[in-house]
């Protein structure tokens, strides 16, 4: 099963993740990444979001 781990301290609030995989990522009021609940259906979008994160704050394993 796919697991998403984010480093909130490293997050810079770019929001690329939320634009790339909106079913998986959102941002709070400060722009910091929020991982949405539920199983990840679009794994490749989640991986692309991790690859595009300017702060390298997202890890997708499994």
């Amino acid at each position: 099963m796919v697991e998403i781990v984010v480093d909130s301290a490293a997050c810079v609030g770019a929001g690329q993740c939320a634009l790339t995989a909106p079913q998986v990522f959102d941002q709070d009021d400060d722009g910091i990444v929020v991982v949405l609940a539920g199983a990840v259906t679009d794994v490749s979008a989640a991986r692309q979001a991790a690859q595009l994160c300017p702060a390298r704050a997202i890890a997708v394993t499994g």
């Binding site: 810079v12 609030g13 770019a14 929001g15 690329q16 634009l19 790339t20 995989a21 941002q27 009021d29 400060d30 722009g31 910091i32 490749s44 979008a45 991986r47 692309q48 690859q51 595009l52 994160c53 300017p54």
Partner: protein, 386 residues
């Protein structure tokens, strides 16, 4: 497709080889770099490393991590030429054949001719890990710093120096830009520096050196510094390709997807992408990462699924500056949110058709998200009325 060679092991090259493996490419992968040591990225060089941290903060990954994914890593191996038709990369000793080549050699600190004498007399630049270690060692609370150039790198160096208690002078232009930001978008920059105790000089200056110190003469004002850094821009590291590929002042010319020639691709600071000139992400790490993923996808037959919105950011004196989209010539800057003093914090960048093509904000995550949500839509009149 059996052998992909990637030249340059900063974030563009490393992301490319990692993406290729993640996308299922199982042929041979070689990653070259001219410098010795493990692959590293640049943003920490003007932040953590300059603040006195370990140079290892900039490391991207261990050499063993590359070995673990079957990437042959060859540091200390500069590429010196290219035979495009023959698919051979020329090294200092011998050639390397490839099926696909990704150019990720980045850029070097630009030192225009009138400034070379300053380098000869001990002025610093900041581009490599070695530069960062040398500059960090030269800074200290008692010693004064002057930075020539108030763009992204110069401003970040100033920010780090101030946080270390170093008396700092910034030599900037009156029309100083910050990466893609210009005009009203960058109004807050010099006042922000001044508010943190930086001596900002925008008059023309004469710089000389005497008795081990730098003297900066601006007519009415004089400044003295122990350390001088030149941060006036970068030059794409494409000189070695001039005889084989179309190379311009901004690097190797490629199409909007990074393709240069059959079997040859370019990513990051060395790439001059058609149509990308006004992307806010030009010459950022975010762009190098996105382009590397895109090119890996093209080589591995698994293209990017979602178009990437260009993104730019910089942290200055604890204030996060962010931008998204494009800022081409001839646009109008529409302020959105304002701070308590009435100065604009967030902006929409609007083209001649009234469409929002760019977004920017200073120290306002909410303002940035609001502006970014407008990208691609017509600017609404209710916004203008505020």
């Amino acid at each position: 497709m059996s052998h992909v060679v990637v030249v340059g092991a900063s974030v563009g090259g490393v992301t490319c080889v990692q993406s290729l493996r993640e996308l299922g490419f199982d042929g041979d992968l070689t990653l070259l770099d001219a410098e010795d040591g493990p692959p590293y990225q640049r943003p920490p060089l003007s932040k953590e490393v300059l603040l006195g941290g370990d140079a290892a903060h900039a490391d991207l990954l261990d050499e063993s991590a590359l070995e673990a994914i079957g990437v042959e890593f060859r540091p200390g191996t500069p590429a010196v030429g290219l035979d495009v038709a023959g698919r051979r990369l020329r090294l200092a000793h011998g050639d390397l054949r490839f099926d696909a080549l990704v150019l990720a050699t980045g850029a070097a600190a630009a030192v225009p001719a009138p400034l070379t004498n300053l380098i000869e007399r001990g002025a610093h630049v900041l581009r490599t890990r070695g530069d960062a270690v040398a500059l960090a060692a030269a800074l200290g609370p008692g010693s004064g710093l002057a930075v020539l150039g108030g763009g992204v790198l110069g401003s970040e160096i100033v920010s780090a120096a101030v946080s270390r208690g170093v008396p700092t002078t910034l030599l900037a232009r009156t029309g100083q830009t910050l990466g893609p930001l210009r005009g009203a978008l960058v109004q807050r920059l010099l006042p922000l520096h001044r508010s943190r105790g930086v001596a900002v000089q925008t008059d023309r200056t004469r710089i000389s050196r005497g008795a081990g110190r730098w003297r900066i003469d601006a007519g009415a004002a004089r400044h003295v510094a122990d350390t001088l850094v030149i941060a006036v821009g970068v030059r794409a590291a494409a000189g070695w390709l001039e005889r084989s590929l179309p190379v311009g002042p901004n690097g190797v010319r490629c199409d909007s997807r990074g393709r240069v020639a059959p079997g040859v691709w370019a990513v990051g600071d060395v790439a001059d992408r058609a149509g990308g000139r006004y992307d806010v992400s030009r010459n950022t790490q975010a762009a190098a990462v996105a382009q590397a993923r895109e090119v890996a996808g093209a080589i591995a037959g698994d293209p990017l699924r979602v178009p990437v919105v260009p993104y730019f950011w910089s942290d200055l004196h604890g204030v996060r500056v962010q931008a998204a989209g494009r800022i081409p010539p001839g646009v109008r800057i529409q302020p959105l949110d304002r701070d308590d003093a009435g100065a604009p914090l967030a902006f929409a960048v609007v083209d001649a058709d009234g469409t929002v093509v760019g977004a920017a904000a200073w120290g306002s995550a909410r303002g940035f998200r609001r502006a970014r949500a407008m990208l691609g839509t017509p600017l609404e009149q209710e916004v203008v009325a505020r």
